[in-house]
Symmetry: C2
Subunit: 210 residues, 2 copies
């Protein structure tokens, strides 16, 4: 099985529990790493450079973008955010699968710039289950729930662009399923060309050696 | 997750233990079924129609082929063999994954006629390990071993046409990995279009209903 790590792009509805799935996956298996984004916004209290974000200047951000060193980037209320290619690749070269928890626009950029990435979309067991989660066990106002549902409809637009659908019904099961998807992706013939060439060469040598 | 079954095409080197892997998979999980081929050869002692093969006439075989009702077919020492589409589809519709243990020529035909099939190639941990297995623990002559190795070189030709590589080092692990590949394949977004449409429609109705 190939030793190089994979890029896992994880998207899904707000409120579906992606963050918890990622946290559990990182706790349970040591071959995963979380991607750290770059941002041009200032660090907030308690945030450390290289942990929550890499905090960089507008000039540095522009340079990264110009040099094609961002796997995806986006603007949000006057600041820039992006996924640094070098950081992701260093994990991959060390054999770790890197998790990017991002929204669909970013996911589509990555699919284009790094087609080997594995794209997984997390869904709730049903729309009704999502509505219940978004209602925050009755603590939210009608307006807040309506706004969240409207957002969910938007988030559902690009679902078929993803490669896998993962249902977050039971957290433990969901984490296992995600790990199985990644393990199976490592077994793809396209990711194991070296092993194919090696066994072919070794077999041929046996025959020639006879 | 989609309920329709999948077609699993399993190939690999002679002597790699495919048969044992299939047997264990069928014993361990009840969502798999083994495909039964049609053949124009006569039944041998102990063979039952519909168990080892469906025994059919040359006329019936020609008709199946003409009507596009074979997923793959081949000739061997004057007889015809093929995989009947209807039989495979009836298992698939019943939600079972159907296993076809066939060689590369047949696998390539299936890929063409039924692109949704999942193609897995089983390899030994190394060429040396295969050589050892083919030597039959020292019970075989040099000539037999040489012929088997030559065959292995031929079998290695189309490996990269497969979607997954599976290493049969430890039998139990290999069976689990194969099951994981199939389970993950069921989670492909492309195989779950109905679920995608349903959640999208249900979410939209919540929003419109507000």
């Amino acid at each position: 099985m190939n030793k190089k790590g994979l890029v896992l792009v994880l998207s899904g509805f707000s409120g579906v529990g992606k963050g918890t799935v990622v946290k559990k996956l990182l706790e349970k298996y040591d071959n995963y790493a979380l991607s750290v984004s770059v941002t041009t916004r200032s660090p907030r209290e308690g945030e450390a450079d290289g942990r929550e974000y890499f905090f960089i200047t507008e000039e540095e951000f522009s340079r990264l973008e110009r040099e094609g060193r961002l796997l995806e980037s986006a603007g949000y209320v006057g600041h820039h955010y992006g996924t640094p290619r070098d950081y992701v690749m260093s994990h991959i070269d060390a054999g770790r699968d890197v998790i990017l928890e991002i929204e669909i626009q970013g996911a589509m950029q990555i699919k284009k710039r790094y087609p080997e990435a594995v794209l997984v979309f997390v869904i709730p067991p049903s729309a009704a289950a999502l509505k219940e989660r978004l209602s925050g066990r009755g603590s939210e106002t009608e307006e807040v729930i309506a706004a969240r549902l409207k957002r969910a409809v938007e988030e559902a637009q690009g679902m078929e662009e993803y490669e896998y659908l993962l249902v977050n019904d039971d957290l433990e099961a969901c984490v296992e399923q995600l790990h199985e998807i990644m393990t199976s992706e490592h077994r793809r013939a396209s990711r194991n060309q070296e092993q194919i060439q090696k066994i072919r060469k070794d077999l041929a040598q046996f025959v020639e050696g006879d």
